[in-house]
């Protein structure tokens, strides 16, 4: 047997070091585990400070003993490489493991073991843990705000339709692929806008919209059988004619008034709320702020002084004011500048305000990408005879936008998490509804559950977005 040197473990006495080390580490973890889960302190016979640090010391020595380079054991090597490279890392690893073990029992007991979910009143919440009954009872309000219960199918249907129309791009055949960009940039936002503002909002105006949809659907279906030569004229003339026919000939207003077609009940935007409002606000702000930001970033680099200074002014102004004041202004000041008989809905004003605000940030992010491109790309595009727009659309922007995907994702995430601020104008999305619910006299004292619930929802949304942006990055990676 070789000489043992516990200060410098080596390969010759691998087994001795390994067993001693593993036993020490296991012992240290076991002590902490017992202490944390069963509240038993098996080393309490030792003086206070020693018994407090003993697991750490034991584990530290154990990790030191198993730190053997090129031991030949794959598992041991990977542990050493990842969490046990030197004394300091070993110490940090131990500390993290202990903190996790220590914090598991209280978390588990609050979330699951001592929590209540049964029943439908505050009285069932007797345990010391969370009261999920509260979330269960208020769930509907957290999702839909003050929207009438009987009409909530409209929100569900709209979101399902929008999700369907949004994912349709993934199933497009080769033939339609080239129209996808046009669809997502120009057609989809308009459809979404009408869907939400006329379908969810309801009222007589919805009928105008429904004629439009019917006209569009019929003409698209017929459109497939039209020779491509006439397609352009067809798509300009036929939908409009159909719309006019529907509106004035087939379903004229008297029919509605006679009650033969019942209009959707009108729900004012002030009653919208909850998670669905979070979605609506985030969705529209995202699709509006991106193009605005794009044009501002191009404008800032323009050679024409008017465009350039206008863009700089816009960007610096919106970046320079706090969002909360912008929202406040949009609701209080803005209507004063409008003519008396003109009315713009509160929600629309808020969406415009947030879009402009975030557009300034998007603009600067995109400008960063534009500046990262070498001048040679511009030269090459110009030398091939491309003008400003062709050069930017075909060569510059595809590369610049690819570069700034992480930055844009950052801005968008911030936007989603900024939406709760719309409470200043009286719109209650999910966090607003939480604040409302926690002050309800029947349900006082459950703020914690509410905020945890909201955090989890926001985390799911934001994590999905960040994952998606990461996938985009991978998808458009062409270098190497």
């Amino acid at each position: 047997m070789n000489k043992l040197n516990f200060l410098q473990p080596d390969k010759n006495n691998l087994n001795t070091y390994l067993y001693t080390g593993v036993i020490l580490v296991a012992l240290s973890i076991f002590i902490v585990f017992l202490n944390s889960f069963f509240n038993k302190d098996i080393i309490s016979f030792l003086p206070g400070s020693i018994s407090f640090f003993l697991p750490l010391i034991l584990g530290f020595i154990g990790l030191h003993l198993i730190r053997i380079d090129y031991s030949g054991l794959k598992f041991l090597d990977s542990i050493n490489k990842n969490i046990n490279t030197n004394n300091f890392n070993a110490f940090l690893s131990l500390l993290i493991v202990f903190v996790v073990i220590k914090s598991l029992p209280p978390l588990l007991s609050w979330f699951i073991i001592d929590a209540n979910i049964a029943g439908d009143s505050k009285d069932v919440c007797t345990g010391s843990g969370a009261c999920w009954t509260y979330i269960k009872i208020w769930f509907n309000r957290f999702m839909y705000g003050m929207y009438p219960n009987a009409e909530q199918w409209r929100i569900n249907l709209s979101f399902i339709a929008l999700a369907f129309l949004g994912t349709i791009g993934f199933f497009a055949t080769e033939k339609f692929k080239k129209y996808l960009t046009l669809y997502y940039v120009a057609v989809y936002p308009v459809i979404a806008f009408f869907f939400i503002f006329f379908f969810i909002s309801g009222g007589p105006i919805f009928f105008d919209f429904s004629y439009g949809i019917i006209a569009a659907v019929i003409s698209i279906i017929i459109g497939f059988f039209i020779p491509s030569k006439f397609k352009m004229y067809y798509f300009i003339i036929v939908p409009i004619t159909l719309y006019i026919l529907l509106k004035y000939v087939f379903f004229y207003e008297e029919l509605i008034e006679l009650g033969k077609l019942e209009a959707l009940e009108w729900v004012e935007t002030g009653a919208w709320g909850g998670l669905s409002l979070t979605f609506i606000v985030s969705f529209f702000c995202l699709i509006f702020c991106f193009p605005i930001g794009l044009f501002l970033s191009l404008g800032r680099r323009s050679d024409f002084p008017i465009i350039k200074y206008f863009s700089i002014g816009m960007i610096e102004f919106w970046r320079g004011v706090p969002l909360i004041t912008v929202l406040f202004m949009s609701s209080v000041m803005f209507p004063m500048f409008l003519p008396e008989d003109m009315f713009i809905d509160k929600l629309v004003r808020v969406i415009i305000a947030i879009s402009l605000f975030e557009a300034a940030y998007v603009a600067e992010v995109i400008r960063g990408g534009l500046q990262a491109l070498p001048r040679g790309q511009y030269d090459a595009a110009k030398s091939l005879g491309m003008g400003y727009w062709k050069m930017h659309i075909l060569v510059i922007l595809p590369q610049a936008l690819k570069l700034v995907i992480p930055g844009i994702a950052n801005t968008f995430l911030a936007l989603v998490k900024d939406t709760p601020l719309i409470f200043v104008v009286g719109l209650l999305e999910i966090v607003g509804m939480l604040n409302l619910a926690k002050t309800n006299p029947e349900w006082l004292g459950f703020a914690m559950e509410g905020y945890v619930f909201a955090s989890v929802l926001f985390f799911i949304i934001c994590y999905a977005m960040s994952k998606y942006s990461y996938n985009l990055e991978q998808k458009y990676k062409t270098e190497r």
Binding site: G376, D379, A380, L384, G385, P398, T478
Partner: protein, 244 residues
């Protein structure tokens, strides 16, 4: 018949206070191959960048194929489409495949149908011998292959004039030959070419005339044989003694 495709008269250009080009007078006839040489910073690159107005000149006139280059930029895109350019750093579009690099401008600038543009591109890629790489991305190709692709891309616009801005300076010696071969073939096919290069072997092989520039001026312009056999100015002699 002397058919002048490029006419530069009394052209001056400044970068700020610094005058890069002084009193340039240059006429290039159709189908001529001209090599421009000279030390770094002598204004060679700026001169040919002025010809398709990637740089603006401040004085004098440049007439390309009967159109004068002026402040009015409406026609400039038309002129640029007729003047192909190959850069030192290749400047391929990294987000597009080799084939798409070549078809992009014909499809969007010349409104050529996609099928036709692809056939044309493959034909030119075949000429520079990289047709087999058509579906790769620029980042996957060697420097020499990228530069040949850049030549093919410029040719796809079917230009009347080709400008080369030190096309081999960023390449390692083994790749220089494959690019020069492509250029020699192009020259033999009768293209009007202006080439900024330090490759004197190439100049001797294909150039009709050689221009020597120094400090923003054209110091000497002569037939190729004459230029190498008995240069007139002392500056040219010094330059040639160092480079050959």
């Amino acid at each position: 018949m002397s058919d002048k495709i490029i006419q530069i008269t009394e052209m001056n250009k400044w970068f700020g206070d610094f005058q890069v080009l002084k009193n340039i007078n240059l006429e290039v006839e159709k189908n001529k191959k001209i090599v421009v040489c000279g030390p770094s910073g002598s204004g060679k690159s700026t001169l040919i960048r002025c010809i398709n107005r990637l740089e603006e000149h401040q004085q004098g006139s440049i007439i390309v194929d009967g159109n004068e280059l002026t402040e009015d930029t409406k026609d400039i895109e038309k002129i640029r489409a007729e003047v192909g350019m190959v850069f030192q750093q290749f400047n391929l579009f990294p987000h597009l495949s080799i084939l798409d690099n070549c078809t992009l401008a014909p499809i969007w600038v010349k409104k050529m149908p996609k099928k036709e543009a692809e056939d044309l591109a493959l034909q030119h890629l075949e000429k520079v011998q990289i047709a087999d790489q058509a579906n790769k991305y620029p980042g996957q190709l060697s420097g020499g292959q990228q530069q040949r692709c850049a030549i093919a891309r410029a040719l796809c616009m079917e230009p009347k004039i080709m400008l080369f801005d030190e096309p081999t300076s960023a390449l390692d010696p083994e790749m220089i030959k494959e690019v020069l071969d492509a250029m020699v073939n192009l020259a033999k096919a009768g293209m009007t070419m202006i080439v900024v290069t330090h490759e004197m072997g190439f100049a001797k092989e294909v150039a009709d005339e050689v221009i020597f520039m120094d400090e923003g001026m054209i110091v000497e312009r002569a037939e190729t044989k004459e230029f190498f056999a008995n240069p007139k100015s002392d500056r040219t002699k010094l330059f040639l003694s160092q480079i050959l």
